[in-house]
Symmetry: C2
Subunit: 314 residues, 2 copies
């Protein structure tokens, strides 16, 4: 894969998706080659036109000579599957371009695992040499936000129709958005939504709540991706955000915080899996867990007992 | 508190909310008195009329002589705060009733912490002696689902307007709902939403995807909580679900699984906090973490190194 073999890249991604035992080895091997790509996240509710937007941005980036890896992540369960596939069909423009690589990922089991698998796929694409990586994820729930937090710049895409469902997630969106785009901006309600977003953004910016590490008032842009309206302005805003992060030294700080969060998640996962394995062989541990399940022992006492038996000061 | 002092209950809840160091001691002390209350969860998007519904259910339960503890949880950040407060005002009916106790909880820091704090508050109310505990939570995101998973029976409340935002969360809702209620059922679109839900529920039921531990096809009920229409039928459905769980022995099994999940979460949290504390004093550990933050070391190798230094077989 490090020699530019796309098929090898595709196969490694599949291993990561399936959480094969060789994942740690793969990630160790590619690690020295990571950290060069710029990662753009695009999120928003279903039907917001994210795929069209990603498609146009890819065209613009390719025209500049950039190479683009795209990860489309659908955190919904198999029960609602199909949305991503439909989206993919609209992105056929780039399927024959050897400098664009598109991969869809869906949930297999735990959603937490999906966020990490996405992170590992980004690193593979980064090591492969793509200069830009775009993560596209559908929805505005906690998991989607966790996924999109792995981006350097995050674009939240809304449409006039998404007004109601947005209210509930507004705090999360404000926290995660570096740029808002109101797509399908020719529709009724687009102006009202933009005005409302600008008001919220401005309030957020001036109040200092959730103050960010750079001086950046989140722009609210209009677009009609299918007619290629507003997409050049969007890319320009993304680049302005990138430059702002880089000048302030914030890009590296954000990436450091991200690496640390990734380590924490991995550490917890590995610790849990060790303890789970020990339950199979250690009778004392198994008895403690059974006592908690039956309600005979409170969980706080159990935790104290388990950690006393398994942890030692380094 | 165990002698029935409501003020003592309120103060203990505040300590739990603030994650005071004495929380483990408190929870150990109340543990033997827990496990008697029946826990009902009510969730749904903002504006679905959950508070009115909880208010009417409380009136019905009180008329039967039950005592009711209510925890209203708002997982949104302080930025969108206020929704819960507004809801509370509508529940004044019961504020003077000594056998009803209402408490609102909002997020303070991590959302994961909120789900566990809610669990601890439920236990306090349980130990206090309430026969029914109602958890009301706004929203249909992952965190809200985590909170409501602590209920024995979960009612998902929707309104005709919530159609669009529901699509994205449908799989999660199907997984968590024991009963669907379409509130404000006199509005346009109520019939269509009910028909759609019934179709999904039936498909889910007959497909065996996410098959539950009891033979229960999730009912889809209509209500107009503010006019007290459909609320008696809702309570009857809750009791039917309770009886079904109890007859199948599934109630105890669900509670066992919940206690186990709670233990796992607490174990992970305590492990993380121990490692975090060690970083302050152990230079080798601090160096490993710094190397990961700077990108010099991959997280998989770091985890292996850290666990080798801190874990021992029990």
């Amino acid at each position: 894969m490090l020699e530019g073999d796309r098929l090898a890249l595709a196969r490694l991604i599949t291993r990561i998706e399936n959480r094969m035992p060789e994942v740690p080895e793969i990630m160790r091997a590619v690690h020295p080659r990571t950290g060069r790509a710029y990662v753009l996240g695009v999120t928003g509710p279903p039907g917001a036109g994210k795929s069209s937007l990603v498609d146009r941005l890819t065209t613009l980036l390719r025209a500049e000579g950039a190479t683009v890896g795209i990860v489309a992540v659908d955190p919904s369960s198999p029960f609602t599957g199909g949305a991503v596939l439909g989206d993919r069909i609209r992105m056929q423009t780039h399927t024959l371009d050897p400098h664009v690589f598109i991969r869809s990922m869906a949930t297999r089991g735990s959603l937490g695992g999906l966020a990490r698998a996405t992170g590992d796929v980004i690193k593979l694409m980064d090591a492969f040499g793509f200069t830009w990586i775009i993560i596209e994820t559908v929805g505005v729930g906690q998991t989607e936000l966790d996924i999109v937090r792995q981006a350097d710049t995050t674009v939240v895409t809304l449409v006039p129709e998404s007004g109601d469902s947005i209210q509930a997630m507004k705090a999360g969106l404000m926290e995660v958005a570096d740029i808002f785009v109101v797509n399908k901006a020719d529709r009724d309600g687009a102006h009202a939504l933009m005005a409302e977003l600008r008001f919220s953004v401005h309030l957020h910016y001036t109040s200092g709540i959730g103050a960010k590490d750079v001086d950046w008032e989140v722009p609210v842009l209009a677009a009609q991706a299918v007619h290629d309206v507003g997409t050049a302005e969007l890319l320009a805003a993304v680049k302005r955000h990138r430059a702002t992060l880089e000048q302030a030294g914030a890009l590296e700080k954000r990436r450091q915080a991200r690496r640390r969060a990734e380590l924490d998640a991995l550490l917890v996962e590995e610790f849990t899996s060790q303890v789970t394995a020990w339950v199979q062989t250690d009778q004392g541990l198994a008895r403690t867990l059974a006592a908690v399940s039956e309600g005979a022992l409170d969980p706080y006492s159990a935790v104290q007992r388990i950690l006393a038996g398994t942890l030692r000061r380094p």
